[in-house]
Amino acid sequence: MKSKSSNTNRTHIVKRDSGWALKKEGSQRASKVFSTKEAAIKNGQVLKNSGSDLIIHRKDGSIQTWEKSK
């Protein structure tokens, strides 16, 4: 699978060594880093309600849940 351009309609919750980051695809930096995954998911709902798919990753990067945008 060749690398493709970023899909800005996707927001990822990815592991950081300091917690879990909420990161919109295509942006250089995370929107915010949360100390718990639950907090990141809760805050991610706002972006999902704004038209972005919310992709929750496991610690190893694999997909835990893919929440379609509303």
Binding site: K2, H12, V14, D17, H57, G61, S62, I63
Partner: protein
């Protein structure tokens, strides 16, 4: 495939290690090198040891993860394949004719700091890198090792890690649209996974 760009990977082939193997393969590609692993092809008629020796001889770099060498419960045999293949790589570097073999660079990974030396005291000289069983930490250690070996201008750890997560999302989206289920995606063969690496 060029000797100077090949990286031989020696690691456990089990479900628990699979996530680490995948991120390792991805990281090597992102740094601009080609991972070479016994799982890249599967021919029951091929003697595995010969395949491994061939891969070692074709690779300037060797990454050896010894983190699963110990047995985890009473009665279980400890796994010797990884230390054995490390020995082959070291032997190739030190005993096989040819200047290019003398240039070989070898990385030893472990999950727990100093664990390797407990069972392989011959390697007490070795500077092993510890990934703690964590995928992001593995990216950091492998990337750092390449930098320490003179490879310049490679993406940062964060960049590789974030792009890896996006890469997995792309595979997931593609496979789901093709009718795969989560279980099928998680169990994707390494040969197929390698075919998707950018």
């Amino acid at each position: 495939m060029s000797f100077n760009k090949n990286v031989f990977i020696n690691c456990p082939f089990d479900d628990k290690y699979l996530p680490l193997l995948k991120v390792l393969l991805y990281t090597i590609k992102q740094i601009g090198y080609t991972p070479r692993i016994a799982l890249e092809r599967n021919d029951s008629g091929e003697v595995r040891l010969n395949k491994i020796k061939e891969l070692i001889e074709e690779s300037l770099f060797g990454i050896h993860d010894l983190s699963r060498s110990k047995s985890l419960q009473a009665g279980e045999y400890f796994r010797l394949n990884m230390p054995f293949e490390l020995g082959l790589d070291l032997g190739c570097r030190d005993y096989k004719n040819g200047d290019e073999n003398r240039q070989k660079k070898i990385l030893i990974l472990e999950e727990e700091k100093y664990s390797t030396q407990k069972s392989l005291s011959d390697l007490s000289f070795a500077d092993c890198k510890c990934h703690k069983g964590d995928s992001e930490e593995l990216v950091y250690e492998v990337r750092t090792w390449f930098v320490e070996n003179g490879i310049k201008k490679i993406p940062s750890t964060s960049s590789i890690w974030d792009s890896y997560n996006i890469f997995l999302a792309n595979i997931y989206q593609k496979k789901i649209s093709e009718g795969y289920r989560q279980k099928d995606i998680d169990r994707m063969s390494i040969a197929e996974f390698i075919s998707y690496l950018p």
